[in-house]
Amino acid sequence: MYNDKNAQTIVEYIQNFTRKNSLFMLAYGTGCGAIELPATLTSRYDAERLGVRGAATPRQADLLLITGYLSTKTLKRVIRVYEQMQDPKYVIGFGSCTINGGMYWDSYNTIKLLDKYIPVDVYINGCMPRPESVIAGFKELQSLIAAGKADGAAKYKENLEWYRENQKKVLKNWPLVEYNW
């Protein structure tokens, strides 16, 4: 293990351990997915035992949950919120609307592929995913974090121009301040 090139140092290991076990979640409650979250967080499924708890604002959050379809109007806000979050940050796409457009595949006002606009670490499929699958999604994200592979934010920084191009294709009058963190 010590000779492995990909092995984590002890500091990284501790960091990743704490990051994975303490996910402050900002639920961007679009679409129908928002209603699954109360069930996920309350007594029957209890996501808090995994260290997942709600955050009130993007400044405090680690994890952005996109719980459904995004119209171009909400996409603007999602990008804004995502850029306000502090590194390291993760995104979970929730339901088939974020994966391929779902039932909004031919809507003139709804984006179909979330990961063209912001980097998505984990997709949870289903329409809607039940709390079990949401918990499974959290688990998957945790294993990615533990392995140090949940690097969506780094990808976003590297390929910023590509993401910007995609975003600007949809958002005609670019309203955001330039990428600044």
Binding site: T72, K73, K76, I99, N100, G101, W105, D106, S107, Y108, N109, T110, I111, K112, L113, K116, N166, K169, V170, L171, K172, N173
Partner: protein, 192 residues
């Protein structure tokens, strides 16, 4: 039409007496249609509101009659006394769609007119309202017009996940199943 439509007929008659060049029809229980010209609509609505007690504006909507090159505007109003719905319908030119601004009669028409302006491109001269309603920064044709090709727009604008190229046109199949004929204007959108 077994049930008697006395109230409805009465209303239709009232309107008929009050206005010239107006076609009224008691279509079913609780519902009366009134077809009028574009210029008459405001006076009919005012008359119905002030004289007949149709105080509540239930809805205003727009229908795109691509075949006859017209938009149909429908104002649905309701009276708490007679409990009747009055549909005031008018047709306007589709090429240069303009309608009288009537948000002074019912304030809530403001919202409906904004929606119709944005979605169908019907102009209301003198109408002061927020420019945008739901869409932000929309530059294309008004999206609810039937000649706006949604699919083409979607294909141009949004990305598509690979693996969904086999999607089928359901409209065609539904039309075939119920034995309807697809009209000519719709055929150009057909994918087969």
């Amino acid at each position: 039409m077994e049930t008697s439509l006395i109230k409805e007929e009465l209303l239709a008659q009232q309107l008929q007496n009050a206005f010239e060049n107006i076609v009224t029809e008691a279509v079913r229980k609780d519902t009366v249609f009134a077809y009028a010209s574009k210029e008459q609509v405001s006076s009919i609505l005012l008359y119905a509101k002030e004289k007949l007690g149709y105080k509540s504006l239930a809805h205003m909507s727009c229908i795109d009659w691509l075949e006859s090159d017209e938009f149909e505007l429908v104002y649905i109003i309701w009276s708490p006394e007679t409990k009747l719905n009055l549909f005031v319908k008018t047709r306007i030119d589709r090429q240069n769609p303009e309608m009288e601004n009537m948000d002074m009669i019912w304030r809530q028409l403001n919202t409906y007119q904004r929606e119709i302006r944005e979605m169908f491109g019907v102009e209301f001269p003198g109408f002061v309202g927020e420019k945008e309603f739901i869409l932000e920064d929309w530059e294309d044709a008004p999206p609810m017009r039937r000649d706006f090709d949604t699919l083409e727009y979607v294909n141009d604008t949004f990305f598509e996940r690979e693996g969904r190229e086999d999607k089928q046109d359901v409209r065609e199949r539904i039309a075939k199943r119920s034995g309807e004929e697809i009209p000519d204007f719709a055929k150009k959108y057909s994918r087969e």
